[in-house]
Amino acid sequence: MGGKVRARHILVFLVIGLGVVGLGVWYWLGRGEEKDHTWAVIQQTGVLRVGMDASYPPFEEIDEATGELRGYDVELAREIGRRLGLEVQFVNIGFDGLYDALIAKKVDAVISALPYDPLRTQDVFYTMSYFNAGLVLVVKEGETEDALSKVEGIESVDDLSGRTLGVEWGSDSDAQGRRLVKRLTGLTLHPYSTPLDTLWGLKNGEVEAVLVDAFSAHHFIKHEGAVKIVGEPVTDESYVIAVGPTSTELLSALNAVLLALRDDGTLIRLRDEWF
């Protein structure tokens, strides 16, 4: 009699134990296949909600004449929408609230000159970079193409020994310049108040090279000319698109479009258009 009861107890424990293990395995296997509901809703509604802080021209701003949004990121978002067959709905949010809006699912993606942030990668997914706004080295055009170029040309920051470098006082370019001064013999810094003043200093021959952010450099090249970017970017400030932590399919779709935009020259066209 006692043996039968014991056997029944063992059986019950075995069934419960197997059930618990089975549930655990089912949960564990299911975790990796979490559905991208955001993408499903986007497909269903045909609308991509884009969060942006429209106060950072020329990336995004409100056109005072028309009250409409305009800028590089606005056109980028619209182009992404066109290629995905989606209507883009912009939501204007303060810069410090962009991530919260994404996590609270008030927007599907953030396109707002948003720098890649390694500390946020547990909270959001980032696409590939579509623009590097880091510091670049700029010299006068023709500087490296004349007969002396092989001896005196500046191709990278390593060629700055004995030169005068323009930087924006107090900014990242100043900090970077101070680091270079420690490393390179005879490098002198010339501080300016703004990146624009720095670039004018170069054009006017006050300095031999300048360190400015990529956006200011492209803008000056387009509007004033006579200067050019040399070498690789000196620092990295990659602008990316952020999507929610479960938006895997949306992330893939955005990356595919960004790759296409890069390969067919659209990103360069947008840069030339807005800077």
């Binding site: 802080d53 106060s55 950072y56 810069f95 410090d96 942030d117 500390l119 946020r120 924006e168 006082w169 107090g170 900014s171 100043d174 900090a175 101070r178 501080p191 300016y192 108040s193 703004t194």
Partner: protein
């Protein structure tokens, strides 16, 4: 044979002694890796210079020491540091000063004067679901007792204590309407207890948020109106100095003060309220303030402007504001990145890399420009 036996015994004794030595060494408490070091002094041309440190949440002692060394090397003799009540009295009547002692002792060893800001209500002293800035009238006694314990413990080491932070903001008053009368009452409790613990301690009131909140706003009260409200409620007898928050936003330090403008010189208007109330004999200390150089924040300035304005602010206090004992600007360094515009208030990056503003302020303190 006998010699062999003796040799074996000797070897055993040596082995035992070596084992005992090893055990003793292992059992010894480890030598502290970070020591206070020799007494240092701040060298500066401007004794009013200061920075608000953020060491409350800094765990590692070497980072605390390094921060304070760098403050000294920059030439700032004053610091403000936050000492949250909940951290030091987690249970009623049970105090743990270990971390606070570490911060204060390192600061003093670097030759710095510490101004302590007290606030942050522990769970046991407030209703469930309320914020850390909520203090019910019934718990004013508890806060007063904490002030007594704090001032007693740091007697001779901390001579300046700020009571609360920005009580004219609803956010900082537990989402209750800002009330100068109620804050004055809190001040009365704190002042009495502090003076009982150490009659020499200087109690700083106010630390009001510069704000242009319209009358009746649920978010806060204009700082000038709030200060007058404090005097009307009898606050004059319950503080020794006024703590002032002086943020410049986009304006230079010499931008003239105006009641409808938030700028650095707004401190002068608070001073006028003091004088109007017959309290001109007391001094002020700016315990927060400064400029921000975030590339996108609407109230930020260019990095070069930030440097110029910061140095001019220190200079202005020295040359023109005899009533201002110190200018403590926000914030020297954060223990971790805020990842918001707040990161652009700092002088030193989280990894201790000095920003250009650090080097320029340091040059100024050394008499160079």
């Amino acid at each position: 044979m006998e010699r062999l036996k003796k040799l074996r015994e000797l070897k055993n004794i040596i082995r035992l002694a070596a084992a005992a030595l090893l055990l003793w060494l292992v059992g010894m408490p480890p030598k502290p890796i970070v020591v206070l070091g020799p007494q240092q002094h701040v060298e500066t041309i401007n004794p009013k210079m200061g920075v608000h440190t953020r060491l409350t949440d800094e765990v590692e002692e070497w980072k605390i020491k390094r921060t304070l060394e760098m403050v000294r090397e920059m030439g700032a003799p004053w610091i403000v540091e936050y000492f949250p009540w909940a951290y030091y009295e987690p249970q009623k009547g049970r105090f743990n000063w270990e971390h606070a002692d570490m911060v204060v002792d390192h600061a003093r060893r670097q030759g710095l004067t510490v101004i302590a800001r007290l606030g942050f209500v522990p769970e046991w002293a407030r209703p469930r679901g309320s914020t850390v800035a909520y203090l019910h009238r019934a718990s004013f006694d508890d806060f007063g007792e904490f002030v007594y314990a704090f001032v007693s413990h740091f007697r001779g080491r901390i001579q300046h204590v700020i009571i609360w932070n920005e009580p004219n903001l609803s956010l900082e008053w537990g989402y209750q309407p800002a009330s100068p009368e109620r804050y004055t009452e809190l001040l009365r409790f704190a002042y009495a207890q502090a003076k009982q613990a150490d009659p020499e301690v200087q109690i700083l009131a106010g630390a009001l948020a510069p704000t242009l909140a319209p009358e009746g706003s649920e978010w806060g009260m204009d700082d000038l109106v709030f200060l007058q409200g404090m005097y009307d409620a009898g606050a004059k007898d319950y503080f020794d100095m006024l703590a002032v928050h002086a943020y410049g936003w986009k304006f230079p330090p010499d931008d003239p003060a105006a009641a409808d403008q938030v700028n650095f010189a707004r401190a002068e208007l608070l001073r006028q309220v003091m004088v109007r109330n017959g309290d001109g004999g007391k001094k002020c200390i700016i315990t927060e303030g400064g400029w921000n150089d975030h590339p996108r924040w609407t109230k930020a300035v260019r990095p070069g402007q930030r440097i110029e304005y910061t140095i001019r602010a220190y200079e202005k206090a020295l040359e023109e504001w005899a009533w201002c004992e110190g200018v403590v600007l926000w914030a020297f360094r954060y223990p971790r990145p805020a990842r918001t515009y707040q990161d652009y208030y700092t002088f030193v990056a989280v990894d201790f890399t000095p920003k250009p503003i650090y080097w320029q302020v340091r040059k100024y303190a050394q008499g160079e420009r």
